[in-house]
């Protein structure tokens, strides 16, 4: 009888996942509030020229430096951003210079598309009688943008040795 009970106890002990606490699911990434008006520094990831650009054409940009909220990094340098050409004008024979301008719309933060606002324009050189020059915005040109509205985003990582974040944690 005793042996049977001992067997049952041993079975119970070894069959139940006593070690389960060590296999806990990974902690969900902390969410932070990316406030409206937060400055975002971008760089052009492609050239845009008044020769080939057309309004509505997508423009590729990338984040120039890590974007952080408090101690939490929400997007790392190199994250993609998207914009579009809003105006493009070729230079004409009478000396008018070429013009091109773009607007920035989205920044990729983790899996989210965060709405941002920013614009950049360029004009070529104006000449008299001879054709003006093309306007070109080169890859690498800095573009300043701002977060368009408050948005909750997942923190990618925290700065080493940082304490608790000052931003409110939301669920």
């Amino acid at each position: 009888m005793k042996t049977r009970f001992l067997a049952v106890v041993l079975f119970a002990v070894f069959s139940t996942p006593i070690l389960a606490p060590s296999q806990e699911a990974p902690k969900a990434p902390k969410k932070v509030l990316l406030a409206e008006g937060t400055e975002v520094t971008l760089r052009m990831a492609q050239d845009i020229s008044s020769r080939a650009a057309r309004p509505g054409e997508p423009v590729e940009l990338k984040l120039a430096e890590d974007l952080s909220v408090g101690d939490a990094i929400v997007a790392k340098a190199g994250a993609r951003a998207l914009g579009e050409v809003v105006q493009a004008k070729r230079p004409d024979f009478w000396g008018e210079a070429g013009e091109v301008s773009l607007r920035v719309h989205f920044l990729r933060v983790g899996d989210q598309k965060v709405e941002i606002r920013g614009a950049l324009g360029s004009a070529g050189t104006r000449y008299i009688i001879i054709r003006g020059s093309q306007a070109i915005i080169k890859a690498g040109t800095p573009v300043k943008a701002f977060v368009a509205a408050d948005v909750e985003v997942k923190a990618q990582s925290e700065a080493a040795g940082s304490g608790p974040s000052t931003t409110p944690e939301s669920h």
């Binding site: 009888m1 009970f5 049952v8 106890v9 119970a12 002990v13 069959s15 139940t16 996942p17 006593i18 389960a20 806990e24 699911a25 990831a45 492609q46 050239d47 845009i48 020229s49 020769r51 080939a52 650009a53 057309r54 054409e57 997508p58 590729e60 990338k62 190199g78 993609r80 998207l82 989205f106 990729r108 598309k113 890859a139």
Partner: protein, 196 residues
């Protein structure tokens, strides 16, 4: 003795029941998450190529945007007809550029689209030709897998050059379909792609 036995029985029952419950709950809570990576792994099994069509500055200067867009549409239509598994850029929907785009940027878009290779198509307008199309295939380590180039200088109009060039490039691309850098859709993923 009976009391001791019943106590032990109760203890055993509790021991079995309580540690088991959190583990069941954990399994239930984990099941949707575990389904994610599993399905991701299923789709990850499908190799995909990111196709990017680039217009050169010379083409912008000496040819029309319509020719470029015709080539763009033709290339994608041809690849789809051959069941080539094309990676789609979900974030920006990028597949072409009319102004110079560094290869770094193309590869970062391709990585974002979970592609396993890149097909980089250059649409050019050299001085002596109406149209020149070059296709380069790279793996994600930027090692060139193959390259094909066609051009047309015949005829009096660009439209003739377009027809000649696209026929030639179809024949050249055909040699690589299903091989390195040009994966074709597997039977499992085909219906999903068609639904999209």
């Amino acid at each position: 003795m009976r009391t001791v036995c019943s106590l032990i029985k109760t203890a055993v029952l509790l021991l079995v029941a309580f540690p088991a419950m959190p583990s069941i709950a954990q399994e239930q809570s984990m099941s949707p998450q575990s389904a994610g990576p599993a399905s991701a792994a299923a789709t990850a099994g499908q190799q995909k190529v990111f196709v990017f069509v680039q217009r050169t500055d010379r083409h912008g200067k000496y040819s029309s945007p319509e020719v470029f867009h015709n080539v763009l549409q033709d290339i994608f239509a041809y690849l789809k007809s051959k069941n080539v598994a094309i990676a789609v850029d979900e974030f920006g929907g990028r597949d072409h550029a009319e102004s110079a785009t560094p290869l770094d940027t193309v590869f970062s878009i391709a990585a974002d689209a979970n592609a396993n290779s890149v097909m980089y198509v250059l649409v050019d307008r050299p001085l002596t030709k109406w149209l020149k199309i070059s296709v380069q295939s790279f793996d994600m380590n930027r090692k060139q897998l193959w390259m094909e180039e066609v051009s047309s200088g015949g005829g009096l109009s660009g439209s003739h050059g377009f027809e000649v060039c696209t026929k030639k490039i179809h024949a050249q691309i055909d040699k690589h379909v299903g091989q390195d850098g040009m994966p074709i859709l597997t039977a499992e993923t085909e219906p999903v792609e068609k639904k999209q």
